[in-house]
Amino acid sequence: MTTIAIVAPALAPGDAVGNDLLHMAQLFRGRGHAVGLFATHVGAVTAPCHPIARARAFLGSNPSAVLLYHHSIECAAGIDLIQQVRCRRVVRYHNVTPAHFYDGMNEACAADCRQGREQVAALVQAQCDLYLSDSTYNQDELLALGVPPERCAVVPPFHLVERLESTAPDPAVVDACADGKTNLLFVGRLAPNKGHAALIDAFAVYHHHYDRRSRLLLVGKEDDRLESYAASLRERVRHNSVEGSVTFTAAPTDAVLKAYYASADVFVIASEHEGFCVPLVEAMALGVVVAGYGGTAISETLGSAGVLWDDRSAWLLAESVACLQREPSVYAELQERGRDHYREHFTNERIEERFLAALRGLFQSRDRKGAA
């Protein structure tokens, strides 16, 4: 039995980092390890989670213990911990949104991102035993900062897609969307790196030139700190004369989220920065074909199971959606590719295999050290 402390800046329900962290904890506990969860900010999660300050005592002076630190945003306490402990150290890198997306929108968010990026360098300097990245895109950043390739591994994040698959869709949402209109869906919090403005522009082209009976569903949490961003998006909707056809909404439960996926004709994406993008996996698993702009980790996660463009042209995106609506055989082929891609790479079972394989070296070297 190994003592494992899993540490993150925040632990919140429905959050990609939170889901990844909770699945890891469950996996380790299932294998008989003693696991503790530690975070600075804790949302309404059922798992017991403690302040990061207590992680050091939990790990004790045991050199064979493991600290698994998730990095996604500024976390001074986490960085201090990783620099101080003498046990095995693993960094889980989810990427940090570049600060420039928040500049002029919210200085506190921008500062958190800027510091979070600076802390990546500190994590590299700490020469941890293993660096686990969500994607090759994330791993390339670590390699560029000097992490030796033999200490790197790509392991996609654990997710709740299987739970979503077995959830019945919320009938009220399904009913609200089942009026014969073409439903374009994007799932992601209302944050400036998610490219909502570009989506609205592309949707306006599609709506006015291809299909007047269409709507854009923007599903994601609104952040009180980013009110000006949300207001600018609503203004953009008005400017493009699509105010009756764009819906901003949250998905507080799995049933509601499932209903939006069930109602969606096409999943659209225009994000400018993604370290992995779990909603793409959800879309593939649930049979919704994706069209959008590539770049960062998006192209890697989706593979050739959708229509992605490097040039951010509203006409290209609109025509892509139109093509998917017009040609059922193309839609069916991409849908099948998506499901295959998901089954091949992104089921939690597959991810567990990769995760345990990546950690195998770490545990074996510990055993050798223990035997010595």
Binding site: H208, R215, S320, C323
Partner: protein
């Protein structure tokens, strides 16, 4: 395993076709026209009503910090129950009012939606009738002349 995979010929052809059509349409159709869409957005209205309903009644979920254990936790839970009961008693009429208003709004919303759907269907019927009429205007005289001859 998740690295960017080389695209296949089918996928390349698909992208090339879409690109060609997009360029053609952009040149042909030009900038966005003005829109006269109805501003009533039922999914958004429904979503907002659901959020409002969730907050309409005084919430029983006052969180209890996990650090509190034993007798202290039991005491906190009892005080919490007392506060919630008191809160619900004091806000009972307000909660009833909130729920009634929301219910009325939902019913109104559904009616507006139903009217909108019927209006759209009538618009479609009118459009189809106009198309038929213009078709008849174009073809009927010729056929009548042919039959007469």
């Amino acid at each position: 395993m998740t690295e960017l995979q080389p695209r296949d010929a089918w996928h390349d052809d698909l992208l090339a076709t879409i690109r060609a059509r997009a360029e053609q349409n952009e040149q042909r159709l030009g900038p966005l026209p003005g829109a006269n869409d109805p501003v009533y957005n039922w999914p958004e209205v429904s979503s907002r009503l659901s959020r409002a309903e969730a907050a309409a009644v005084a919430d029983a979920a006052i969180p209890v910090d996990r650090r509190h254990r034993g007798i202290r936790r039991v005491l906190i839970l009892r005080v919490r129950t007392l506060i919630v009961s008191l809160l619900r008693f004091l806000t009972a009429r307000q909660s009833r009012y909130n729920l009634d208003v929301l219910q009325a709004l939902r019913e109104t919303g559904k009616t507006v939606r139903s009217l909108e759907t019927r209006l759209t269907a009538r618009d479609d019927e009118v459009r189809q009738l106009r198309e038929r009429l213009s078709h008849l205007e174009r073809h009927l005289p010729t056929e009548a002349v042919r039959q007469a001859s």
